[in-house]
């Protein structure tokens, strides 16, 4: 391939301009032909949790395609030694892996989980919506704006290039000039704000809107995981915000927090990992919750050791804040710090182990029905255990001097993030798909997806452990024959394409399911928790009147007795839904304001800032509840 540049622009960007224009035109034509505009108009103004949850997942899937394509470019470039694939060498390669990491963490894994929380958590606790529906729409549109800003970079030939960790001083303007890493900063700032607001929303919903009688320890484990995760978000994300703000000052206004006489690049690492390590638990705990619910449902048994499951989540969350320096063993923090962080890291294996054994013992004496969601849960157990044990190996500080920043680490975190979070998200999507759309995804194609994905996954990442042990550092765009890692990398590339192929079965499945199958009832899986007591897709205001709950798995026990879940006497006001364009408008303003910052256009910054303040004032003096409450009082 000898056309890496068209004029000043690398040819991959030109190709994606053309491709995006064509796809855009096709989508416009399709929307018009099938008269879908009213649906779009409905969804962009909605504040309903199920619709917002579904949109979270849809947008995450779009970013997943982007991040996945980046992964395939990476694997193609690394397929053979001294390769020269298309444009993906040097800085272009750095841009690709930076984008891949950032997109997958912030714009795929996070929104997939938050989307599932939106869909399932209110229904599971018997609430009619999230506590703050308007705020929920704001969160969603902030996430879209953040993702939009971050992805825009590539189309303007300015993709961030300092790694998803953006280590200083490389990420400061001394070493990476140009707008590239400004995109990183503002993309994450805007979407991070949305995430923090979601956390607040979830916490208030779970504390205030549980069905009457449902104590905290009557909740299924997914709401529990959501609750504790939300606290982690509330503590960890502001640290990222601060770190990015300091970096902004270093890049824009000549401060030197991370560089120079007074500053220290290691400060960035501390701040980033004080956010970054809890972040990986933010990504894994909701997946644990999903697996707990699924394994219990498909074993037709209460989850084993419910109390210890909850305590384990809490301990993992707590320990998650005490391990950040295990990302920094080679910085030279000294033997005391390294030993302490090694031990706290190892300790996390204990509550995680408790969870693994509780899942196994949930299946014991049960009736294990293997349907697609359960298949993903079963695939998760061995995969995640491998990721967990390599985690303990990495915790051995002295040994980490060898593993650190090598492909061993790459293999490890893909085993936890894909083996945990992504398998969890897939399991959750298959499981709650009827609650989102009213249909069950095709079983046979689901199995194809599972097996191809899982086999592809292990083919991709198992060899990377050995490539790392053979001395392959992370983030290199090529290697030599003498390195002796050709075969390992080649297998890895084959596996990656297998994973890519498995996603085609998802597309086929969606098409087939919607074309050829009939809607299902409210309870297609013989479920245990309240979301299965309402229709599919879940109606707006599903619990009217709300349920009276006095135990775990209330729906299941009512079903076994042949009864309905009892209704509560005292009705409670539900959150008020509105139709509003304001959140979309806010996110558009923030996109423009961010562009103002990214390209140093001060007038656009000022204009955007003024618009945001105006928006906040307008929002502060509107109260959509007033009208509804007045009507209620009259009634």
């Amino acid at each position: 391939m000898n056309v890496p540049f068209v004029g000043q622009v690398p040819s991959d960007i030109v190709v994606s301009w053309i491709a995006s224009a064509l796809i855009g035109l096709f989508v416009l034509w399709w929307l018009t032909k099938y008269n879908k505009w009213p649906v779009i108009w409905e969804y962009i103004r909605t504040t309903h949790h199920r619709k917002i949850g579904t949109m979270y997942i849809l947008v995450a899937i779009i970013f997943f395609i982007r991040g996945g394509m980046d992964a395939l470019f990476i694997r193609t470039q690394l397929a053979v030694p001294e390769n020269d694939f298309w444009v993906f060498q040097s800085q272009k390669y750095n841009e690709v892996f930076t984008t891949h990491g950032t997109v997958m963490i912030f714009f795929v894994a996070m929104p997939l989980l938050i989307g599932l929380m939106n869909v399932a958590v209110p229904l599971q606790i018997g609430a009619n919506d999230l506590a703050f529906p308007y705020l929920n729409a704001v969160s969603f549109w902030l996430f879209v704006a953040g993702g939009f800003i971050f992805n825009m970079a590539f189309f303007f030939n300015a993709a961030p290039n300092a790694g998803w960790t953006a280590y200083a001083p490389l990420s400061t303007d001394t070493f990476t000039t140009g707008p590239n890493n400004n995109y990183y900063i503002f993309g994450l700032q805007v979407s991070g704000l949305g995430t923090i607001l979601t956390a607040i929303n979830m916490i208030v919903t779970i504390f205030r809107l549980r069905a009457p009688g449902m104590k905290l320890n009557h909740m299924p484990l997914f709401p529990w995981a959501t609750l504790l995760t939300s606290f982690l978000i509330l503590i960890a994300f502001p640290v990222l915000t601060i770190a990015l703000l300091l970096l902004t000052f270093d890049r824009y206004y000549g401060t030197s927090f991370f560089i120079g006489e007074m500053g220290d690049p290691v400060y960035w690492q501390h701040l980033f990992w004080i956010f970054g390590h809890p972040e990986v638990y933010i990504l894994i705990l909701p997946a644990f919750g999903i697996f707990s619910d699924i394994i219990s449902t498909f074993s037709r048994k209460k989850v084993y050791g419910y109390t210890s499951m909850v305590i384990a989540i809490a301990i993992i969350g707590l320990l998650g804040f005490m391990v950040w320096a295990h990302h920094m063993f080679t910085v030279g923090l000294g033997p005391l710090a390294n030993s302490v962080f090694a031990i706290t890291t190892m300790l996390i294996a204990v509550p995680t182990g408790i969870k693994i054994f509780n899942w196994l013992f949930t299946m014991r004496n049960g009736v294990v029905r293997i349907r697609t969601p359960m298949l993903f849960a079963l695939g998760f157990i061995p995969t995640f255990v491998i990721g967990g044990v390599t985690g303990v190996m990495l915790a051995v500080a002295a040994a980490d001097y060898q593993y650190h920043d090598s492909y061993f680490v790459v293999a490890h975190f893909h085993y936890t993030m894909i083996g945990g979070t992504i398998l969890g998200a897939f399991a959750g999507i298959y499981y709650w798909y009827p609650k989102m759309t009213g249909k069950v995804l095709d079983e046979k194609l689901g199995r194809w997806h599972f097996w191809l994905f899982l086999i592809g996954f292990h083919l991709t990442f198992m060899p990377q452990h050995f490539a790392g042990l053979n001395g392959m550092p992370r983030r290199v765009y090529t290697y030599s024959w003498e390195d002796g890692i050709f075969l390992l990398n080649f297998i890895s590339t084959v596996g990656a394409f297998l994973m890519g192929a498995s996603m085609l079965f998802v597309a086929w499945n969606l098409y087939k399911t919607h074309r050829l199958t009939d809607p299902v009832g409210g309870d297609p899986w013989d479920g245990r928790t309240l979301e299965w007591s309402v229709g599919s897709p879940s109606p707006e205001h599903p619990f009217e009147p709300v349920n009276q709950v006095d135990r775990l798995d209330a729906f299941w026990h009512a079903k076994v007795k042949g009864e309905e879940v009892p209704k509560a006497e005292d009705a409670r006001p539900s959150p008020i839904a509105v139709k509003t364009l304001q959140p979309v408008i806010l996110s558009i303003i923030l996109v423009f304001m961010s562009i103002g910052f990214i390209y140093h256009w001060i007038s656009l910054q000022v204009l955007g800032g003024a618009a945001v303040i105006a928006y906040l004032i307008i929002r502060s003096i509107t109260d959509e509840r007033k009208e509804v409450y007045e009507k209620e009082e009259e009634g």
Binding site: P169, F175, G305, G353, V396, Q402, L454
Partner: protein
């Protein structure tokens, strides 16, 4: 899956993975720790897999059990205590040598500078920059991307960076130590076999991070002295 992972292990034990084939005292210690932790962790993995496969086989839904409602059964405190306490014990077995090795090695890796210099050690100043390594020996000899060390003699490194963060790594001889701007980190090891070893920058440092490699030649004492003299003479000329 298990079969696959075992298979890949068998396939690879024949290969000489650099990290598992150490040629210095420090790297030896690390490799032993890797084997210890791997052994302990395989134990965990095997136990989980046995339970997993056993439960799955035994409790899978069969046509006869289609409508069975199994009941929640009793939970056993004893079991829960077992899988809490046993992992803690296992981790303790791993934690003791971990802390010991971390202390042993870190004092070599990043000493505070106050410790007495070993009598026979050579000191080498390392400067990392985008995208090469410069080594300066005690007699003023400089060399770029080529590190020459005498066999069986301790080498002390003092490392610093001129620009961004790099990380010094010779997989067969030692673990990594980060190379930071404005700071000095330390590393030391004693190579015990002559040979040529790959050295790499392990911390992503910019566009050509991939190319920031160096060669480590471990040679006999005589050859080393010869090489050391040559350089200085050249510089003098």
């Amino acid at each position: 899956m298990r079969i696959f992972s075992l298979l890949s292990l068998f396939l690879l034990t024949g290969c000489n993975l650099r990290v598992l084939n150490p040629k210095s005292d420090t790297a030896d210690k690390i490799t032993n720790l890797i084997y210890l932790s791997f052994g302990l962790m395989m134990l965990v993995f095997v136990v989980v897999m046995i339970l997993f496969v056993h439960f799955l086989k035994k409790y899978k839904e069969t046509p006869e059990r289609l409508n069975e409602i199994p009941g929640d059964g009793k939970e056993s405190k004893r079991l829960e205590v077992t899988w809490t306490v046993l992992p803690i014990l296992l981790l303790a077995v791993l934690a003791v040598p971990t802390v010991k090795a971390t202390y042993d090695m870190t004092s070599q890796v990043s000493g505070d500078g106050g410790e007495a210099k070993a009598e026979d050690a050579i000191t080498i100043d390392v400067v990392g920059r985008q995208y090469n390594w410069e080594f300066t020996y005690e007699n003023g000899k400089k060399s770029v991307n080529e590190l020459v060390l005498p066999v069986n003699q301790k080498a002390d490194f003092k490392l610093t960076s001129e620009d961004v963060i790099h990380s010094f790594w010779v997989p067969k001889l030692s673990g990594k130590i980060d190379v930071l701007p404005g700071e000095e980190t330390r590393l030391s090891f004693t190579p015990r076999e002559a040979g040529v070893y790959q050295g790499k920058c392990a911390e992503f440092c910019g566009a050509e991070h991939t190319q920031m490699r160096f060669e480590t030649k471990v040679v006999s004492q005589a050859e080393f002295q010869q090489w050391l003299k040559n350089g200085v003479e050249e510089e003098g000329e």
